[in-house]
Symmetry: C2
Subunit: 231 residues, 2 copies
DNA sequence: AGACGACAGCTTGCATACCTTTTGGGAGTG
DNA sequence: CACTCCCAAAAGGTATGCAAGCTGTCGTCT
């Protein structure tokens, strides 16, 4: 549900307001701690407060804003605690999804591995051409594959909102280091390989290692993100 | 700080609308498949459409309604697939929480076990007096203890919304059988005991068994709810 | 100088009015 | 008899107006 950026004109003012505010928050144009008002955004977009109001409400439910009565909308500042919680949640969900997919049998493993390989290739190309947005989108797609194929729309929806938040808190900061990009590609490849082999333990381990790497790149203590310890 | 005796009146119309619609959906007064309109609810509550609209929006985000443009709000019918997804998600989250809590050490295990025991006692009393709402509330409290103590507000929030949905889909149907109540109490006791002992494997196993029991009581195939298979 | 209080400006909360879209039924036609 | 077209009723989408609440400030009193 996150990627409908360009469908603005046709889909009513509400969607436009939602995309706009969400975009501003995710890209950091609205910074954490900022207090924004409905009228402000409404005027900027040339619409009335009503659609903006609905967008605010939605974003509050998604955890990006906090609405203070009669005061305004606070862009929730990213706390280290929230980063930790998001990464931990991602770990739990991805671990679940990977294991479930693999246990479904070798047939589907192949298909998934193919999909993963496609995204890795896209990411490699983006990396070579220094297309950061494309790289990030491919990264998102890569990880989304698991949850999209885990046959659980509820957890899939939760995961999507997690990714939104993570994009915001991490941004490109963790990718400043070119070596990090290489590492990501390599870890992704390991995951895809383990999935293709249908090896549950290796796949889960690879996912854990990858996310732990991200946690480290964010400057957090790896122990802070506990989860299932595995056989 | 002031008393909230007049809570329903003091809190705005938005909250009243939200409580009303949510209540109607959860209790089944609005049935799955019903198409309700803003004006309808607004008139019933003696307020304008605006607060009702906001309530609808919120409930859509929570997964209870689906808004069709220019048509109305559909009360999402409970599909077997959704029941399965909810139970699977609960399993994933509770398993995560229990394991994390126990790994924190014996000290906190004791405190948690005490809290669990309190709720079990409340449930036992409610059962003896045939206070079904009280029983359900204690059940909710029992399970919520895990997620509330797992130090992950994000997953905690997800879990809370899951419980809401489950209440709606299950209702009291699964409790028609008095033997089921006995089973629940016994399974809860097993969980609390394993937690007190700080035994990870036994605790997780007990949680799995309990939720699997619920799945069975709902008439679903137990294999349909896959999750981590454990050592 | 410091503290207290009233006021001005901004914000949201809710109501109301108007516009657009959807849809269901009825008249007319093949 | 079935199909199509058209229109009117109804619902949501958006805009706007007004009331109420919170903040910060400025002036006055002690």
């Amino acid at each position: 549900m996150a990627a409908k950026a360009t469908a603005s004109a046709r889909t009513g003012a509400k969607a436009r307001a939602l995309d706009f505010v969400k975009g501003q928050v995710l890209t950091g144009a609205f910074r954490g701690g900022d207090l924004i008002s409905e009228g402000e955004v409404a005027e900027a977009l040339g619409m009335s407060r009503t659609p903006v109001r609905e967008a605010f409400l939605r974003l509050e439910a998604e955890g990006l804003l906090r609405l203070y009565p009669q005061r305004g909308a606070l862009v929730i500042p990213v706390s280290p605690e929230e980063v930790r919680a998001v990464m931990e949640a991602r770990l739990v969900l991805e671990q679940f999804a990977v294991e479930k997919i693999i246990r479904r049998g070798p047939a589907s493993c192949g298909a998934i591995a193919d999909a993963l390989a496609t995204e890795i290739e896209r990411q490699r190309r983006a990396s070579a051409e220094s297309e950061l947005p494309e790289f990030l989108d491919a990264d998102r797609a890569f990880h989304t594959i698991f949850l999209d194929n885990a046959d659980n729309s509820i957890l899939g929806g939760v995961y999507a909102s997690l990714r939104d938040r993570q994009v915001r808190m991490i941004g490109e900061s963790a990718l400043r280091d070119p070596r990090r990009i290489e590492t990501i590609l390599s870890e992704h490849a390991s995951i895809a390989e383990a999935v293709r082999d249908g090896d549950v333990v290796r796949s889960v381990t690879a996912v854990r290692a990858h996310l732990t790497g991200t946690v480290l790149a964010l400057g957090l203590a790896p122990e802070s993100v506990s989860s299932f310890t595995w056989p």
